[in-house]
Subunit: 451 residues, 2 copies
């Protein structure tokens, strides 16, 4: 095994977590956290039957689904979709001018002017081109080529040895293993804001010796469940960068490193309409940009995507709207903003770091917080007795007593001996205030009980 | 090898061809029919540049995309979709009452009343249940269980030896081979209306000896490209049935055979919103119903689907509307009809069977005709000289001289020594008349030239 920095590797980087999924994740996790999810279902049933509890409803923030969590979809997105599906709406002046223009433009690019037609395998060429322009803009001019971009409804995973972060959204590992691949865990350094360290990558590579052939590195930006952005703090400069928390893509950093690295390291960079500002999980729209990928592999990738025909047109439209939002001066501009998420990020950080027994790294992106629990030994023993992981034990009690459903850290294969949970913060501001009240009140009681 | 009738097999039956795809297929076929597709692109370019030809535009009926081919989407479908995406439309009385009711009902079943939320892996339970009711109704009471149904955006294929029909839509074979499977061709009997014969299945099974382990039989109902429905003419009764051309599903026939067959033969039955009356290819909605499948395999299938999160919500809505169309008395009922396809089926049969050198089995379902060409020896020699298959040669000349683009039979791996082409008949009536005029005029000239 050569050292990491000398290897020709493929980097997989979902910009937002295209693989995230709600009910699925819950059901699969059932295999692990059976107690928690079963109890949640039961409690919901009991509440329906009128059983008295200290709360009137269960708030489920264990997975990330903004619209499922009550956040209203963006009017611009929904108006364009409605007009594309039913173009008669274009004749009325009830829709803003920019909505009608966008819908007209998109319909012009659909065969037969209809969202019901097939598209090319990679996606509608106009939308694919628009995505490449978005990426070029995002990365300050680093060129992106339409031929390297594929729009997909789902996600496509990879084979054989893949280095995956700990903690990591569980479906990443599951997909790799199901395709016959082996995952090689590398640990993110929590106290350094979930930093990725080159020494740790090298340790992980060593650990793979005789087990598998590591061919790819999976990184998430922002992280899931950690909500962290990679920083330039570490010596592994091409994967890291401080920029006042501005999003900097791995694609851009790779380009800035110059040849030969910028021309040889293979990068597959994913993004989707499911998270972030647009939050349209149900439309199933995502894309992957492939950089420096071997032409023979590109041919195979084309075939892989073409057996799925094409991505859904509504999903493709969502990607167009996400990569080309309304501009200042457009009638729909003012409605299209992101205040909720920024407010929530600040509140979660403030509140959780002010309570003993909690610590939370800053949420720098994405829609999740992943606070750490510093549990008393008594609680850890009690969990063992109940046959549960400590953080699962905490989460079951939290659910039971406060009606809050969060996702225990060990579902993300987090490091032994540490306790965490992941909470969705893509929820209404009022809902978040209620969540924090319930959480702090429960936590204080819990810590007292076991100290 | 035991005989076919004694084996425990899995039958794969797409009721309509969920795997069909337009531009994809064209691009993949390029690998084979390079001359034809390249020439089509070139001619389109020449026409744009003002080059004089005997026609003003190329009509592409080489693949099946009703809306791409100018057929208007169903208003009911599009109104419900528009209202689901942008519920403000429900407040206006411009939409029919049944449209508003359906949209209300569907939104109630979406998390957060939004099409932008994740759904369960199998699909929205209400829609899945509706599909199982539709199947039960379709099959005259043969029960269908929601737990056996999965909604998907794409298609999921199978491993190792699979018997596939000849002719067959090329992506079926491609998918199987790409997954490391082996296809075992069985020939449909053209002169008997593309009948499937048990002797031929047994021959195909024998041919697999020492090559692979046949585990599944792939059947299409209606056939693609043949447009035929399976009939009860043959001794292989459980796969066949005459019913005055009424659609009878394999699911139903299987149930009617009684135990032990009805309880042991594994069946995976696909259907989609891409073809038929609704013709919504771009929404990417399909489902599979699994019958008699081993519980261990069912668990694997759940995992397989869950790595794709869930199908797109617009696609799921399309399935609901397809399986529960407006009923007599509903305001949207009269608009929701299928006269075009029935008219086209009759016209194509009449015209093609009246011209020497053509013969065409009745189109009994689906959206394609697959006429046979009886080409003069001179034409066959000429094709050989040009390095083409006879039917490809014919199709290139047809394109060149009349601007009609159809799909040569050898792209469907049709039997050596026979010539066919597949044409999409899901097009506007006026367009079809133009197509038939061009076709007959070219054909007559071609036959004269080479006789």
């Amino acid at each position: 095994h050569r050292k990491w920095s000398e290897r020709k590797v493929t980097i997989f980087t979902p910009m937002s977590d295209q693989q995230e999924t709600g009910p699925t994740m819950r059901r699969l996790s059932q295999l692990e956290s059976v107690v928690l999810w079963n109890r949640a279902r039961q409690i919901k049933r009991e509440l329906k039957q009128g059983v008295k509890k200290p709360y009137r409803e269960v708030i489920d923030i264990s997975w990330g689904d903004p619209q499922g969590g009550g956040i209203k979809p963006l009017s611009f997105v929904r108006q364009v979709l409605a007009a594309c599906h039913y173009p008669q709406l274009l004749n009325s002046d009830k829709l803003p001018e920019d909505v009608r223009q966008r819908a007209e433009r998109l319909l012009k690019e659909c065969a037969g002017r209809s969202t019901g037609s097939y598209t090319a395998t990679q996606g509608i060429p106009y939308i694919v081109k628009g995505i490449s322009e978005f990426i070029t803009r995002r990365d300050g001019g680093v060129p992106s080529f339409p031929n390297n971009i594929y729009i997909s409804s789902g996600s496509h995973a990879v084979k054989t040895g893949v280095l995956t972060p700990v903690p990591c959204y569980d479906k990443v590992n599951m997909s790799i293993r199901e395709l016959g691949g082996v995952t090689i865990p590398y640990y993110l350094h929590e106290d350094q804001g979930w930093e990725l360290q080159i020494e740790e990558l090298n340790r992980a590579l060593e650990s793979a010796k005789g087990v598998c052939n590591p061919v790819a590195l999976y990184v998430m930006n922002p992280g899931n469940p950690t909500g962290s952005l990679p920083q330039r703090r570490s010596s592994f400069s091409w994967l890291m960068r401080v920029n006042d928390l501005e999003f900097v893509s791995y694609k851009k950093v790779l380009a800035e490193m110059g040849p030969p690295i910028s021309e040889t390291v293979e990068l597959a960079s994913f993004h989707s309409a499911s998270k972030g500002l647009i939050g349209e999980c149900g439309l199933r729209g995502g894309y992957v940009e492939l950089v420096n990928v071997d032409p023979a592999v590109m041919e195979y990738i084309y075939k892989l995507f073409s057996t799925d025909s094409c991505a859904s047109v509504p999903g493709q439209i969502a990607l167009n709207l996400m990569t080309h939002p309304p501009q200042p001066g457009d009638p729909s501009y003012s409605l299209y903003n992101e205040t909720t998420l920024i407010h929530n990020v600040r509140r979660v950080f403030e509140v959780l770091n002010s309570v003993p027994g909690f610590s939370c790294q800053p949420v720098e992106g994405g829609g999740f917080a992943f606070p750490r629990l510093h549990l008393p030994l008594n609680a850890i023993h009690k969990a063992k007795e109940a046959g549960m992981q400590p953080d699962e034990f905490y989460c079951v009690r939290l659910l039971e007593e406060s009606g809050l459903l969060v996702n225990p850290g060990w579902n993300f294969e987090q490091k032994e001996g540490t306790s965490h949970f992941r909470m969705n913060i893509m929820i209404k501001e009022e809902t978040l205030e209620g969540v924090l009240r319930r959480l702090v009140s429960f936590h204080t009681k819990f810590m007292k009980e076991f100290s």
